[in-house]
């Protein structure tokens, strides 16, 4: 592992009761980063939020709430770049085909990906073999 590199692997059952654990781990990762000149509390909140959103999407949509499945998250911070990958075994979907946020409409859903894209530098969703990978990354100031 490179110096000043942090790697965290998380695997939890596909149940929403574990979202709090995922969020807390994400916050702790923010506080463990060696050199960060920005507002650490805000960074911690944002990492908590984007990983909660990503994991909840995997649980609800990709895995359809199946408690037998599990959610696997891989977090990596190297050279001032935060990167997280959330793996799911669902059908997958084309993120680019999602309609953009319509703030005029009172929709119950659809804010999760908007939130991730707003808080992160890059959000991508790809198929790798029989697994889908949501990758989110952000350059840390």
């Amino acid at each position: 592992m490179a110096k000043n590199s942090i790697e965290v692997e998380i695997k939890v059952p596909n149940q929403t009761c574990y979202l709090g654990l995922i969020g807390r781990i994400a916050e702790e990762v923010a506080y463990a980063i060696d050199r960060y000149s920005g507002d650490r509390e805000t960074l911690a909140y944002h990492l908590n939020l984007v990983l909660t959103e990503a994991a909840a999407n995997a649980m609800k949509y990709a895995h359809e709430g199946d408690p037998e499945k599990s959610v696997h998250i891989s977090i990596n911070i190297t050279d001032d770049v935060f990167c997280a990958r959330v793996y799911d075994q669902g059908q997958g979907f084309d993120m680019n085909s999602l309609p953009s946020m319509d703030f005029e409409k009172l929709e119950d859903r659809g804010r999760g990906i908007f939130i991730m894209k707003s808080l992160m530098d890059c959000v991508s969703y790809k198929r790798l073999g029989d697994t889908n990978v949501l990758e989110i990354s952000k350059k840390l100031k």
Binding site: T16, C17, L19, G20, G23, T42, Y45, N48, L49, T52, E53, A56, M59, K60, M101, F103, L106, E107, D108, R109, G110, R111, G112, F114, I115, S118
Partner: protein
């Protein structure tokens, strides 16, 4: 959640720190039951909530629709800065009536103006 009543307004204080996908459905259903039970006005006290995700936001959107369909009102109070920031980012601060404190929310106008749906 702790449910009380002040000045004829149902005050729902969320005791959980996280209003996320794990509890948002129960929260939404509880508020819907209150409106369906005949109460018109609900104030959600968010003082103890330090985290909300898109499911939590969605629950408020659904509840606002429920309030409107019952010709009632829904207001929020006591949002922590990071929670408020998410309402601002998603522009729900323009749709939901949000107050700094429950005192200010309770003292605000709870009479529904004819035809007024949003802020």
């Amino acid at each position: 959640m702790v449910v009380g009543e002040k000045k004829g307004i149902v005050v729902v204080r969320i005791k959980e720190e996280r209003l996320d996908a794990h509890i948002s459905d129960d929260f939404k259903n509880e508020l819907r039951r209150i409106y369906e039970g005949g109460k018109k006005n609900i104030l959600v006290d968010m003082t103890d909530v330090r985290f909300i995700d898109s499911s939590g936001l969605g629950a408020f959107v659904t509840t606002l629709r429920t309030a409107n369909s019952h010709k009632g009102m829904l207001k929020l109070a006591g949002l922590k800065p990071q929670v408020q920031a998410l309402f601002d980012l998603t522009r729900l601060n323009l749709i939901l009536r949000i107050f700094p404190t429950t005192v200010e929310a309770l003292e605000s106008d709870w009479e529904k103006a004819h035809g007024q749906e949003f802020n």
